[in-house]
Symmetry: C2
Subunit: 117 residues, 2 copies
DNA sequence: ATGAATGTGTACTATGTAGTACACAATCCA
DNA sequence: TGGATTGTGTACTACATAGTACACATTCAT
């Protein structure tokens, strides 16, 4: 399956073809890590970075932070805080949606984002 | 606010009044940790244990694992895996419910657990 | 009154996390 | 053609996590 490093490398390389500012080195410096480290991350020689670094990376590349975090096996801190305030309800909700088809989740999402309460 | 250690100590002590098998030592041994460690956990001298240990503790005490994990600032691994499979949808859903009143969440939960799809 | 059980203090440790520091060969480009 | 830039190899590190090991004084049960 697609790993975190692969995904980042592909996304960055695509941009690098057009704009020099997406070289590994320049991205690394912008997001505040050593180029050697980002190199290892992209090749999967080290585990994915911390949440904060992943978010900076996602922003720099214009990728969805939630998706990038997910590829790193992490759930964003903001989402965790929301769940932690009502653990029982969210646990039941999430488990209830485990095997639901995509369209069912979308339906619930839409219902909720319409502020239907 | 109520800490993890306080909650565990209170719950365990309540049971210990009636049944000797809920002494700190016996619980510690059943869940597979050193008594000295559980003692420190209950008094908040060390951070809450790992997820696996918290779950064993919750089971031993008959407490809700999701709630105990939440008090430790953690979201259970099973829930995380479910979220990670569809990060965008769940992110939107959870953020959408951030400020929803309890009854609204319950409504969604019920709708979902009715398998309404 | 004594042996078992209880809770706790002190010291130590293994593994994981999240990187830095620096040198190097290859490539670009002016 | 030579200075700048690029990606990468090697070595090292600070801090966090998740506990163990053992001794000790106190209390409980018989």
């Amino acid at each position: 399956m697609r790993t975190f490093g692969d995904h980042v490398r592909t996304a960055r390389a695509r941009r690098a073809e057009r704009e020099a500012r997406y070289s590994l080195r320049q991205v690394a410096i912008r997001i505040g890590v050593e180029p050697a480290y980002l190199s290892k991350v992209e090749r999967g020689l080290v585990p994915p970075p911390s949440e904060a670094t992943i978010v900076r990376l996602a922003e720099d590349l214009g990728e969805d932070p939630d998706v990038l975090l997910a590829m790193a096996g992490k759930v964003g801190n903001d989402l965790r805080q929301i769940i932690l305030r009502r653990p029982k309800q969210f646990a039941e909700l999430i488990r209830g949606l485990k095997n639901a088809p995509d369209h069912a989740i979308l339906k619930v999402v839409r219902e909720v984002s319409d502020g239907n309460w």
